[in-house]
Structure formats: structure tokens, C-alpha cells
């Protein structure tokens, strides 16, 4: 009993971790299933079919490509706009700062369905054709706030004296920005961009309202929950998981190597 009490945090933490990871393991295991009916919810027999032919389902890989395209453009837009706002908010004092801060905070303090529905009323009233462009506009909008927060955190912790030093050494404003400011802010901008990409790629609720008949990957998965889930969905899910883990691990290895080589100097 006392052992349990001493290690309570470890035991409870591992239970939570299991709760988080088990669905991913299920997704992985069921990517090797050969389902009997339309739905891949119960285990039948082992098969590599889906892995051999990941694009063997009509329209699935097309929706995946579309989601990637939208996520890339939305990330680009939100990162550029968000970084500019973050710099303005941290580096300059001006009127209406409070109002602008709350305008940026609002999209994060609102249930997604409200934003999704209100955007749809705008597009309906303007008579806009729902599809690629409306999805892109919506994604850029809701990713923007997250980029601002991520970049702001980084810029705030920057030492302004580094830029002053660069100017004292006769660097022009453009040179200072490109060679001092931007490299220091880069990790924050990268974090914001990655967050925007992940949010856009995985977004369902806002896309559901504003996509018309255009099918992104989450929309495809949603539809398949009604029509029948192909095993290939699990293959894509597993591949995404593995790629993400590899990227994170590679990032860790690179940064720890850098630290090791930087220290002896």
C-alpha cells in the first residue's frame, strides 16, 4: 500500500498516458485488418493489402492532397500575417493595443462551431461559392491567433540590446532585421507555423461548414464513418503518427548535438 502511495503520481501518469496512446495503437493494429463488411471496427484477419495499396480507395488520396495544399497556404498566410502582428504588439507602443489584443484573443475564446456558423452566414450573404477559397480564408483566420501567441512569446523574451548592438555596428535596419532579429525569432515563428499547419490539416468543424461539396481529408473520414471506413484510413493515420514521431525525434537529436558541439568552445 505504501508503495502505491509513494508512486501514486507515476501510476496515475502512466494510466493517463495509456489513455492517450491506446487509440493510436488501435489505429495501427487495425491498419493490418481485413474487414468483412464496409466498416473496419472489428478484427477479422491479418492482411497487408491496405499497406500495399494505400491510395486504393476512390477520392481518398485526392482529399489528402487537397488538405495538404490548404494547410500549406493557410500556414503561409497565417504565419506572415501573425508574425507581423506579433512584432507590432511587442515592439511598439501605440493606441488601441488593448482592443487589438482582445480581437486576437477572441477567436481562441469561442467555440469553433460559432465561428464556423458565422463565417457561413457571411459567405451565404455575399453569395460566395463554397470550396477551396472559402476553406483557405477560414483556416488562415483561425490559425492567425495561434501564430501571434507563439511568435509573441518568443519575441518578448528577446533581448532588444542585440539589435541595438547591431545598429551600433552600422548595420542598416534591413540588415539588422535579416541577420539578427529574424534568426532569433525563428524558433517562435517555426513553432507558430507548425501549429498552424497541424490545426489546418486536422480541422473538421470549420471546414464542415464552409467547404460546400469540396472534400478535405477530415471530411473524407467523416463521410466514411457513415458510408463505410476503408482500412486505408488507418494506414494514413499510422503513417502520419510515425512521420510526426520521426520528425520530433530528429529535431531532438539535432538540437542535442548542437548543444554538445557548442559547449566545448
Amino acid at each position: 500500500m505504501s508503495w502505491i502511495r509513494r508512486n501514486f503520481v507515476v501510476i496515475a501518469g502512466i494510466i493517463t498516458l495509456a489513455y492517450l496512446i491506446i487509440p493510436n495503437i488501435v489505429v495501427m493494429v487495425f491498419s493490418f485488418n481485413k474487414p468483412a463488411g464496409r466498416f473496419n471496427y472489428s478484427w477479422q484477419e491479418f492482411s497487408l493489402d491496405a499497406w500495399k495499396d494505400p491510395c486504393g480507395v476512390a477520392d481518398m488520396c485526392g482529399s489528402l492532397t487537397l488538405s495538404l495544399q490548404i494547410a500549406l497556404w493557410a500556414t503561409l498566410g497565417a504565419t506572415v500575417l501573425g508574425t507581423m502582428i506579433a512584432f507590432a504588439l511587442v515592439r511598439y507602443r501605440f493606441r488601441a493595443r488593448g482592443t487589438i489584443n482582445s480581437l486576437i484573443f477572441m477567436p481562441m475564446a469561442m467555440p469553433e462551431v460559432v465561428m464556423a456558423a458565422s463565417l457561413l452566414t457571411l459567405f451565404l450573404n455575399l453569395g460566395a461559392e463554397l470550396g477551396f477559397w472559402t476553406i483557405l480564408i477560414a483556416h488562415t483566420m483561425f490559425c492567425l491567433s495561434f501564430v501571434v501567441v507563439a511568435v509573441k512569446a518568443r519575441v518578448m523574451s528577446m533581448d532588444p540590446r542585440l539589435e541595438e548592438a547591431a545598429r551600433d555596428l552600422y548595420a542598416g535596419p534591413v540588415q539588422t532585421f535579416l541577420r539578427v532579429t529574424l534568426p532569433i525569432a525563428a524558433p517562435g515563428i517555426a513553432a507558430g507555423a507548425m501549429l498552424a499547419f497541424a490545426l489546418s490539416f486536422d480541422d473538421f468543424i470549420i471546414t464542415n461548414f464552409n467547404s460546400g461539396s469540396t472534400v478535405t481529408f477530415p471530411m473524407f473520414v467523416w463521410g466514411s464513418a457513415q458510408r463505410g471506413t476503408p482500412v486505408q484510413i488507418n494506414v494514413i493515420g499510422t503513417a502520419m503518427f510515425i512521420i510526426a514521431v520521426l520528425i520530433v525525434v530528429a529535431g531532438q537529436v539535432i538540437s542535442s548535438r548542437r548543444k554538445k558541439t557548442a559547449l566545448p568552445k
Binding site: F8, V9, V10, A12, G13, T16, L17, Y19, L20, P23, N24, V27, F30, Y41, S42, L81, M84, I85, F87, A88, Y92, F94, R95, A96, N101, L103, F105, A109, M110, P111, V113, V114, A117, S118, L119, T121, L122, N125, T140, M141, V149, D202, F204, I205, N208, F209, F217, P218, V221, A225, T229, I233, G237, T238, M240, F241, A244, V245, V248, Q252
Partner: protein, 306 residues
């Protein structure tokens, strides 16, 4: 609400042309992004407000008739779904806090060299589409599956059935399944802010409290937990707000008896095409959430949220 341009530069002594240009810099930096938010975030809310007081039909068109009755009708017809949403989202938030706190604590203070690996394991599930992961719960909670069988054998389902959380020996299509899915989906949003605020605590404070003869439980209650309050507040907000409007879990794991307000808004907008009611419902949800969040932040007393 009117669409306002960025305000003009504050008047100041004009010394050089360059200094005037420098003063305009922040406005040029803000302009594109703020314009985007005004046009695609604020303006849509105005359109939605106007839609909510319109009457008419899809065939004959809608006109603004200041028909506030829609709000009252929507509220009286759908108050069970509103209450259910708040109840499910609230339960999921409390469960996230209870489940997430030990893990965040473990990563912050006890993980040692495993810290980065554990953090990766918390974030990594994010990268598999959340819809795919939610569908995986259909497999996990399948009727007659090992999980449900186990819960049945230990008598857990008898208790939850008696509480009205499950029905017979099923878990799928019951409130328990929906809350399980909600808790699962928003758990990382609780763990990460908790971890960030716990990680900032100096472990020497724990030692100091221990040296002053505080028991571990007292250290937690008097030192650790109060210092982690910013994480608790932002974690609960990041969980509760999206959970209250979510309709994915209720749709995929629930039944018609577990419909949340998000499901109603979605079907009114996209299937029934009754735009005024849908807009009114969405506004009521927004108002409820904003009021609850404001009261909560006041009471919890944290201003430095973002």
C-alpha cells in the same frame, strides 16, 4: 458593430520625415492581419446577428424583421441540448484535470531524462487525424468487446447504468462514450499548459516546505497547486470552450439521446437550412460561454492568460 480601420498615428512633434515614417511602422505591420480578422471574424458575427433576427424561408428569401422571438423559441426548444453540452463539457474538463494533473506533474518533476520522450508521447497522438482517433474509440468500446466485457464483469456498468450513464451492457451510444471521447480529445490541451506552469516552479520550494515539516500532501496543497493555478485556468478554458461546442464525439460515439448543442447548430445550418434559428442558437452558445469564461477568470484571478 462597425468595421473600423486601424486608427491614425498619434499626433506628435514632427521633427524628421523618418520619425513620422517610423511611427507608422506598427500600423503597417498590423494592417493586413487585423483587416483579415475584422473581415473574416468580426464581420461574420455581424452578419450572423442580422441573420438571427430575420424571418422567411429558403425559397422566398429572408428579411430582417427584428424577430427576437427566434431566440426565445430556440432556447425553449433546445434547452436540454444546451444543458447537456455544459454538463458533458464540464464533466470532461474535470476528468481532464484529474487525469492530466498527475501526468503533467510526472513530466515536470519526476521524469528526469524521460521528460522529452513523455512530452513527445503527449503531443504525438495529435498528428493522427482526431477523427480517425475518435473512430478508434468505436473499436475500443465495441459491444461485447474486451473493454466492455471487463467493465461488465467488475460491475462497473451496473453502477453507471443505475446512474443513467450507460444503457444495459452497452457503452457505445451512451453518455459515457461521449464523455470518454470528449475527455480523450481535449486532454492534451489540459496537460500542456499544466506542464508549462508546473515546470516553472522551483523545486527548491518543495525542499523548503519539506524542511519546514510539511507533509507531501500539504506541500502539494499549499505550494505546488497554488503556483500551478495559471496552468489550471488556461487548461480548463482550453478544454471547456471547444468541448462545449463540439459535435463530433456526440455524433460518432453517441446517439440521438446524447445530442449536444453543436449537433443541433450543425444540422439546423447544414441540413434543415433554418438559418435564423441556427444563428440564434449559435449566439446563445457564444453568450453562455463568454459569460462563464469571464466569471471564471474573475474568480480564478489570473489576468496574464496569453
Amino acid at each position: 458593430m462597425t468595421v473600423t480601420e486601424a486608427p491614425p498615428a498619434p499626433p506628435g512633434p514632427v521633427v524628421h520625415k523618418t520619425s513620422v515614417r517610423r511611427k507608422l511602422v506598427p500600423y503597417w505591420l498590423l494592417l493586413p492581419g487585423i483587416l483579415w480578422l475584422l473581415v473574416f471574424f468580426a464581420l461574420p458575427l455581424v452578419y450572423q446577428a442580422s441573420t438571427s433576427v430575420q424571418t422567411g424561408s429558403l425559397e422566398q428569401g429572408f428579411q430582417v424583421t427584428w424577430h427576437f422571438q427566434t431566440y426565445w423559441d430556440a432556447l425553449t426548444e433546445y434547452y436540454p441540448q444546451f444543458l447537456r453540452s455544459l454538463l458533458y463539457a464540464g464533466t470532461a474538463t474535470v476528468l481532464c484535470l484529474l487525469l492530466g494533473y498527475p501526468l503533467a506533474y510526472l513530466i515536470a518533476f519526476r521524469a528526469g531524462r524521460w521528460r522529452n520522450l513523455l512530452l513527445v508521447l503527449v503531443i504525438a497522438p495529435f498528428f493522427t487525424s482526431f477523427l480517425i482517433r475518435t473512430l478508434a474509440w468505436k473499436t475500443i468500446l465495441a459491444d461485447g468487446g474486451p473493454v466492455v466485457e471487463f467493465l461488465n464483469v467488475i460491475g462497473f456498468l451496473d453502477v453507471t447504468s443505475w446512474l443513467g450513464l450507460t444503457a444495459g451492457d452497452r457503452v457505445l451510444a451512451t453518455p459515457l462514450a461521449v464523455v470518454t471521447g470528449l475527455t480523450y480529445n481535449f486532454l492534451p490541451f489540459m496537460i500542456l499548459p499544466l506542464y508549462t506552469s508546473l515546470e516553472r516552479i522551483d523545486p527548491r520550494l518543495h525542499e523548503a516546505a519539506g524542511d519546514l515539516y510539511a507533509k507531501p500532501a500539504t506541500v502539494f496543497r499549499k505550494v505546488t497547486f497554488p503556483l500551478s493555478m495559471p496552468g489550471v485556468v488556461s487548461g480548463t478554458l482550453l478544454t471547456f470552450i471547444p468541448a462545449s461546442g463540439d459535435y463530433v464525439n456526440a455524433e460518432l460515439l453517441g446517439s440521438t439521446d446524447t445530442r449536444m448543442i453543436g449537433n443541433v447548430i450543425q444540422s439546423q445550418f447544414l441540413r434543415v437550412l433554418d438559418y435564423p434559428t441556427a444563428a440564434a442558437l449559435s449566439f446563445i452558445l457564444m453568450a453562455i460561454v463568454l459569460v462563464m469564461v469571464t466569471v471564471y477568470i474573475r474568480r480564478a484571478g489570473t489576468e496574464d492568460l496569453v
